[in-house]
Point group: C2
Chain length 145, copies 2
DNA sequence: TATTGTTATACTCTATAACTATA
DNA sequence: TATAGTTATAGAGTATAACAATA
């Protein structure tokens, strides 16, 4: 039971994080997909293409997702000055607040589960995960930052 | 960039695992939710209540999920001998094969990303994750095994 | 009365294919 | 011709509320 292949451990912790994510999203009146979208935009506006790659969605799926959340005034589509076909999706002020609150709630809940780890251990696990994510970026081109 | 709160690292690795999970599911003609359902049943049949708690789903949502995958002969509902209201969901032989193949593909792909970690490091990270999951189980009662 | 599971309904999420407008 | 994004459509996933049957 304590002997667990790392790949299996990653799958299980991922499902657990999904559950936390779903609970927090619901608390904030969002679907998990909407929360993910908002959190991706915290760093700044993104085009639909990049956003779709980041969220692993077909463009048409993303159109609908953005439509629904734009109707709620959490994001808006800006014209791209360099390409009149394209648009850039940006958080509204309210969207930024919601994104920040949801992100804080997720990490807050996860922190509660990290009681059993000391600082050195956290740093070690965190570093290992950064390595794993770097491998994924190298393989797929999708950045996790 | 290398300094990342562990909670954030967990969220990011979780999204990465979801993408792998989605790709593998598609390769096997399944949705991610169906794959998760099948993999949960590998240990043996489960009642709808337990299954719903494990997958974090309302009972009515689970009814539909099981309906659709039962139509494809990957699971079936068995009568519960001790409670005539209840049923137990079990993998068919074909369902067990699909579950096994999908699980192997997911862990196989993840293993490719773990090249940069030596055995000791893997063991350390795996143990830390087991601790985290144990905390989640203590808080919610949902087992991850 | 409480619990197990289903049904009815209304959304959201997602992909495929066809389309428009711009590059 | 190729690319960015949308529309149309169909199916899957999800929750809430109301229900049936059994405990």
């Amino acid at each position: 039971m304590d002997v667990l292949r790392l790949a299996d451990a990653l799958v299980r912790v991922s499902h657990m994080v999904q559950h936390v994510f779903a609970d927090v999203s619901r608390d904030h009146g969002l679907t998990p997909q909407q929360t993910q979208l908002l959190c991706r935009l915290v760093r700044g506006p993104m085009g639909m293409g990049d956003l779709g790659r980041a969220l692993h969605l077909e463009r048409s799926s993303l159109t609908g997702l953005v439509d629904r959340i734009e109707r709620r005034d959490l994001v808006l589509r800006l014209a791209d000055p360099h390409d009149r076909r394209a648009c850039r999706v940006a958080l509204t002020e309210q969207g930024a607040q919601v994104a920040d609150a949801a992100h804080g709630a997720v990490t807050g809940r996860l922190d509660l589960l990290l009681d059993g780890l000391d600082d050195a251990e956290r740093e070690r696990v965190s570093s290992a995960i950064v390595l794993i994510l770097a491998g994924h970026t190298a393989a797929t081109g999708v950045r996790w930052t």
